[in-house]
Symmetry: C2
Subunit: 99 residues, 2 copies
DNA sequence: TTCATGCATCAACGACAGTTGATACGGGAG
DNA sequence: CTCCCGTATCAACTGTCGTTGATGCATGAA
């Protein structure tokens, strides 16, 4: 749930899409998105706490990037839900009798 | 985004997991989840507006079920983000030179 | 060291989302 | 028709979340 909550917000959603194109420091996101620095730090912290991104310090810059495992987990959840959903859906077509 | 916003809330998250096991009417969810009827109606409307669930009227009961396409779309988004992310990650391992 | 830059954190505010209880609607049973 | 039950909708309240500007904390340059 935490993962979904992290992504389900406009600013953070856009951050994730940016990071898909490569790691960025806060100042780059600031320029590209036209958002206040305080705002980005706030949302990046949320994403980091949820395990969706990681940060890497290089000099005075902090680079953020996506965590593939987090995206996998979300996909896995949706996959389980969907297969279960299609499971009972086809069994219903057979009149409720499971094959 | 709308889809993720719909799922990214505790009550709705649990509703989705329930519906993965088959369609339910509001009163069934009410019993299983111990939630107020007003509350469930509120969240089911959100899920419906987001296209995550559909409703089917049978007598005086309204049955809700998941919409597979919605789950597919969310999985597709996460898939695109992840492949793009892994793309630049491996190209970085090659010193930035794309093969 | 001193200054400037990049980022994190804080407090105050505003706005929106969820909860609750009451009310209204709608369909079936009698 | 009238009553009952399952749902939807509404209004009021509460709390949580995001925004903003200011401040603090590092790090590198001069």
């Amino acid at each position: 749930l935490r993962r979904f909550q992290a992504v389900a917000e406009d600013t953070r959603f856009r951050i994730v899409r940016r990071l898909a194109g490569g790691e960025r420091c806060v100042c780059e996101l600031q320029d590209e998105m036209g958002a206040a620095q305080s705002r980005l730090s706030f949302h990046l912290k949320k994403l980091k706490d949820a395990g969706v991104v990681t940060d890497r310090r290089d000099g005075r810059w902090v680079y953020y990037s996506l965590v593939p495992e987090a995206l996998d987990e979300m996909r896995a959840f949706l996959g389980e839900v969907k297969t279960a959903e299609e499971g009972w859906r086809v069994s219903r077509r057979n009149g409720g009798a499971c094959c």
